[in-house]
C-alpha cells in the first residue's frame, strides 16, 4: 500500500505539471542519449582505428641502421652502420625486456609464379616471431613459418591475400608449389585479410613471406634491411630503445648518444598519440553530454521545487500525523530518481535504436559505434548523481518545513 500510495502521488505530481514534466523528461532523455551516443561513436572510431593501426603490428619497434652522426674513438662521422643476421638474437640476449626480435630482408621485386600465372612483387623474410609481431595471421588450414622451417632453411612460403588472389584466384593455395625467382616453394599459409593504415615497406597483403635462412641462401645478402623488436610491455619501449642504442653502440663502436647511427620507428608513439587524442575527444564530448544532462537535471529540480511548493500543506499534514523528516525527504528524492530513471531508460533505448540504425548503414570509415558496459555504467552513475542532486535540495527544503507554518496555508 505504501508503494502504491507512492506511485499514486508520483503520478499525481507529474500529471499536475504535464508540460513541464514532458519537457524535463525530454531533457533527461536528450542528455542521456547524447552522452551515450557521443561516447559510443568515439569508442567505435577508436576500435576501428586501433584495428587498422595494429594491422602492421602492435607496440613494435622497427630499427634501421644509418650512418654515424658523431666522430667516435678517432673514427670520423658518416661511417655506415649495418645490421647482421645475429643482431636480433644478440639484442634479445642483452636486453631481457625484449620479448621478440626478428631480422628482416626484403627483395623488392621477385617473380612469383604459379602454373602460368606470374606475379611480380616483394618477398620479405624474417624468423618465426616476425609473423606474430607483424600481425600476419594465417587463415584456418594454414600456418605461418615456424622455427623448424628457419632451422632447416625450408622452402616454404606464407602469402598475402592479394598475392594469393592474383596467383590462385579462388583455388586453395595450401600445399601448392609456387616458384620465387625460379626456386620452388610450398605454400604453407595464407594471410587473413586485415586493415593496415601504416607501413614501412608496402602493404603486407601483396607480399610473400619466407624464412630468412632460405632467403640468404637464395640471394647474396650480408646485411639486414631492418630489424623488428617487441618489448614485453609497450610502456617499456623508451627504455628498450635506449638500451638498443647502447648495446649496438658498443658492438658497432659509435657514440651511444649518436642519434643517427640507428633509426627507429616506435609504433607505440602513434598509439599514445591516438590514445591521447581519443581521450581528449572523449572528455570534450563527455562534457557536452554531461552539460546537456545537467540542464535536464536542473529542469527536474525545478519541477520538484514546484511540487514542494504545491504540496507544502500536504507535507504539513503528514508531519502532523507523525511523518519524520527523512520520510518526506526520501519520498521526494525517490520521485526524482524515478523520473530520471524513466528518462534515462528511454534515452538508453533511443541511443540503442539509433546505433543499430547507424550500423545498418555500414559506414566503415567511422567504425561501428558500441554501447560498451563502461559507457552504460558511466551514464547510469551520472544520471543517478544528477537525479539525486536535483531531487535532494528541493526535498531537503520540504523536510525542513515547520509543520505549524506548513499547516497554516
Amino acid at each position: 500500500m505504501k508503494f502504491f500510495l507512492f506511485l499514486k502521488q508520483f503520478y499525481r505530481d507529474l500529471s499536475s505539471q504535464k508540460l513541464r514534466t514532458a519537457l524535463t523528461t525530454f531533457g533527461i532523455i536528450w542528455g542521456t542519449a547524447s552522452i551515450i551516443l557521443l561516447l559510443a561513436f568515439t569508442t567505435g572510431l577508436k576500435k576501428d582505428q586501433k584495428r587498422r593501426q595494429h594491422g602492421m603490428g602492435e607496440a613494435i619497434i622497427i630499427l634501421w641502421s644509418g650512418r654515424t652522426g658523431m666522430p667516435y674513438e678517432g673514427m670520423p662521422k658518416g661511417r655506415r652502420i649495418r645490421f647482421v643476421e645475429e643482431d636480433p638474437e644478440y639484442l634479445k640476449m642483452m636486453i631481457p625486456e625484449i620479448a621478440m626480435a626478428s631480422p628482416e630482408y626484403t627483395n623488392w621485386s621477385s617473380t612469383i609464379k604459379y602454373r602460368d600465372k606470374i606475379y611480380i612483387n616483394q618477398v620479405t623474410a624474417g624468423n618465426a616471431e616476425f609473423g606474430e609481431m607483424r600481425n600476419l595471421i594465417p587463415k584456418p588450414g594454414g600456418r605461418y613459418i615456424n622455427p623448424n622451417d628457419i632451422a632447416n632453411k625450408k622452402r616454404v612460403a606464407f602469402i598475402g591475400y592479394e598475392a594469393k588472389k592474383e596467383l590462385f584466384g579462388d583455388e586453395d593455395p595450401i600445399g601448392k608449389i609456387i616458384t620465387i625467382d625460379f626456386v620452388p616453394f610450398t605454400v604453407v599459409g595464407e594471410m587473413i585479410e586485415k586493415d593496415q593504415n601504416s607501413s614501412y615497406s608496402g602493404s603486407d597483403r601483396r607480399k610473400t613471406f619466407i624464412p630468412y635462412t632460405t632467403f640468404t641462401s637464395m640471394y647474396n645478402r650480408s646485411y639486414l634491411n631492418n630489424m623488428v623488436v617487441k618489448p614485453h610491455e609497450s610502456r617499456q619501449s623508451d627504455y628498450v630503445k635506449r638500451r638498443i642504442n647502447e648495446v649496438m653502440a658498443r658492438k658497432y663502436r659509435f657514440d651511444p648518444k649518436d642519434e643517427e647511427a640507428i633509426w627507429e620507428w616506435d609504433t607505440t608513439r602513434g598509439d599514445q598519440f591516438f590514445d591521447n587524442f581519443i581521450f581528449g575527444m572523449n572528455i570534450f564530448l563527455g562534457m557536452v553530454g554531461f552539460f546537456t544532462l545537467m540542464v535536464g537535471g536542473i529542469g527536474v529540480s525545478n519541477i520538484m521545487n514546484a511540487v514542494v511548493e504545491e504540496r507544502t500543506k500536504e507535507i504539513g499534514i503528514k508531519m502532523a500525523l507523525g511523518a519524520k523528516a527523512s520520510f518526506i525527504l526520501w519520498q521526494l528524492v525517490s520521485e526524482t530518481l524515478l523520473m530520471t530513471f524513466i528518462g534515462g531508460v528511454i534515452g538508453l533505448i533511443l541511443s540503442g535504436v539509433i546505433i543499430r540504425g547507424y550500423n545498418m548503414l555500414n559506414i566503415e570509415e567511422m567504425g561501428s559505434p558500441v554501447i560498451s558496459p563502461e559507457i552504460a555504467i558511466l551514464a547510469s552513475i551520472l544520471l543517478g548523481i544528477i537525479g539525486f542532486l536535483s531531487g535532494y535540495f528541493p526535498a531537503r527544503r520540504a523536510a525542513k518545513l515547520n509543520p505549524v507554518e506548513a499547516l497554516r496555508l
Binding site: 500500500m1 500510495l5 500525523l321 507523525g322 511523518a323 519524520k324 523528516a325 499547516l407
Partner: protein, 225 residues
C-alpha cells in the same frame, strides 16, 4: 498521573525587533479521560497552546510533560514519533489528503508507525465502523460531505490509539447538525475512556464540556473543573 502537565510555560515569537509573548506562565494539568475545552478570543494564544500540546511546536521555556515525558526538549524526529504515537489531531478544515481515499487517509498514521498491511486493514475497517462510514472506504474527500470528512479525520486521529485527542475548532466549518454529530462522537469517545482537548470559541460547545480553560492575551484567566 496527569497526561498533560505544563508548568510555568512560555512561548515567545521573535519577529525581528518585536518580541511577542504568545503564552505566559501557563500551568495546566489534564488527567486521563478528561474532556477539556480551551476557549478564548482570537489572538489569545489558543492555537499556540494547541501546537505545543500537540508537539508541533516547542515552548520557549518552562516544562511540558506528556505522559511523563519531557517532550518540550525533544528533537524534531522524536517529536514526529510522539505525534504519531500519542497525539490524534482533528483540524477545523479536516486536512485530509485530497487524492487519497477515506481508507488511505485513515491508514496514513499507521504507515508512518510501520504497521503491517494486515494490521492496518483491520484497524481501518474498525475505525470506519466506529465513525459510521464503513460504506465510504473507497470515497475520496471530494465525494464526502463536510460532516463525513470530519468523521474520517477523527477516525484517522484515532488510528494509533493516541493518549490524547486534540481538536482545533472541529465544528468550525460545519453546519449545526453536522457539528452536533461530531460533538456527539467526541462525547462517545470520552465515555469510552478517551482524553480529549478541544479548542473552540463556540460557547454552546464549551458549556457542554466538563472542564474549560479560558485564555486571554496568552494567560489563563479562568480554569473550570
Amino acid at each position: 498521573m496527569s497526561i498533560i502537565s505544563m508548568s510555568n510555560l512560555y512561548k515567545t515569537y521573535n519577529t525581528g525587533k518585536v518580541k511577542v509573548e504568545a503564552l505566559k506562565s501557563i500551568d495546566i494539568e489534564i488527567e486521563q479521560n478528561q474532556f477539556v475545552a480551551i476557549v478564548g478570543p482570537s489572538g489569545s494564544g489558543k492555537s499556540t497552546l494547541m501546537n505545543i500540546i500537540g508537539c508541533l511546536d516547542t515552548p520557549t521555556s518552562g516544562n511540558y510533560l506528556l505522559d511523563g515525558e519531557k517532550v518540550g526538549r525533544f528533537k524534531p524526529n522524536r517529536l514526529a514519533e510522539i505525534r504519531n504515537w500519542k497525539i490524534g489531531f482533528v483540524f477545523q478544515n479536516f486536512n485530509l489528503l485530497p487524492y487519497a481515499t477515506a481508507y488511505e487517509n485513515i491508514e496514513l498514521p499507521m504507515i508512518f508507525n510501520g504497521l503491517s498491511y494486515k494490521k492496518r486493514k483491520k484497524r481501518v475497517m474498525e475505525l470506519l465502523e466506529r465513525v459510521g462510514l464503513a460504506d465510504r472506504a473507497a470515497h475520496k474527500p471530494t465525494e464526502l460531505s463536510g460532516g463525513e470528512m470530519q468523521r474520517i479525520a477523527i477516525a484517522r486521529a484515532l488510528a494509533n490509539n493516541p493518549s490524547i485527542l486534540l481538536a482545533d475548532e472541529p465544528t468550525g466549518n460545519l453546519d449545526s447538525v453536522a457539528g452536533g454529530s461530531i460533538i456527539e462522537i467526541f462525547r462517545e469517545l470520552h465515555r469510552d475512556g478517551a482524553t480529549i482537548v478541544i479548542i473552540t470559541h463556540d460557547r454552546a460547545i464549551a458549556d457542554n464540556v466538563p472542564s474549560t480553560i479560558k485564555l486571554k492575551d496568552g494567560v489563563i484567566v479562568d480554569s473550570l473543573n
